[in-house]
Assembly symmetry: C3
Homo-oligomer: 137 residues x 3
């Protein structure tokens, strides 16, 4: 079994941002030399997510509005008694999930025609990391 | 390390459908010959999901009603400016998540007594695929 | 490829409980002897979840209140026609997701500074299991 691990760092300009990272995942898989296996793409922070969906600007705006509706900013979160103000970002992270597995087949990402990997930032403007770990053969 | 990859194709009769696919996952694991490992079951489309829960008709109706409440059909989604009408299906897919990992132990799916694998279709009536990739030894 | 499988059993005092299980996952990884790989942590029941987020008491109360809002107790669930009363617990399990993959690097859990693994019980006060399966080398 081979394995290959990389860390991406993001420092987004906005508090919320949806960053298309399929190219970085492809590159990691290529560098791994792995032909058959699994690529884990996992946020290392608890106020960010990783998901697979469409790279379409309108949909991304819909996702942002939807997350704000289901996990809204709210000064009353108990988490804020610690001095934090990002309770909603934790809940958004849980809703989106913080990781995906991309299957690797014949040395390539085995994604459907419209599947793209996104890093979802909910508390940006500082360095945050995503781990990519490819295992296989 | 061994690996085995299969693709299932679904063309559901209804726009929304919840298809029990544990038998197909079991078959893929059997064909892989893998005794210890992980089986990834992952939708290849961005308007479908894969989840593990109960194979009980009432619960499936509850899930359908719940998803419609949290990620409703709505003509106003910005995604619809592309000509699409399935914005809600993308959000439902994100809520359910598009993949699960089924552990494989002693050559069998290592699921709890009531755990069953489901393909959740949110924009059906056309060919859509699910990937099963088993890795292990 | 090596693999190592463990089962944890929980019998929580309360119907809902959020149990910090990072130490148990660390121990399983140590016992596996695996240096590079993936650790699957997966609930074996359909009324429980496993997630990664902050070990902060206020946030855990926020998560509980948020799940109750998005997937409330409701006597009207169709699932209850079977005699069950835990329809909401199934939906909460789906929202949180029932599993995570923890990457293993240099023999340790490769988590970010605040990432902790939690078992989320939504229908407790009886024996329920979580599987940990580590694969790698």
């Amino acid at each position: 079994m081979k394995s290959h691990t990389e860390y991406l760092t993001f420092n987004t300009r906005h508090e919320h941002e949806y960053v298309h990272i399929t190219p970085q995942v492809e590159k990691a898989v290529r560098q791994s030399g792995i032909q058959e296996g699994l690529a884990l793409v996992s946020a290392m922070h608890i106020t960010a997510g990783v998901y697979v969906n469409d790279n379409e600007e309108g949909l991304i705006e819909d996702i942002e509005a939807w997350l704000e509706k289901l996990a809204p900013k709210n000064p009353a979160y108990k988490h804020h008694q610690t001095g934090e103000t990002n309770g909603d970002a934790h809940l958004k992270s849980m809703l989106v999930h913080h990781q995906v597995i991309v299957p690797v087949t014949a040395g390539r990402l085995d994604l459907g025609p419209w599947q793209r990997v996104f890093y979802a930032e909910f508390d940006g403007r500082r360095n945050k990391r995503v781990l990519i770990k490819v295992i296989g053969e």
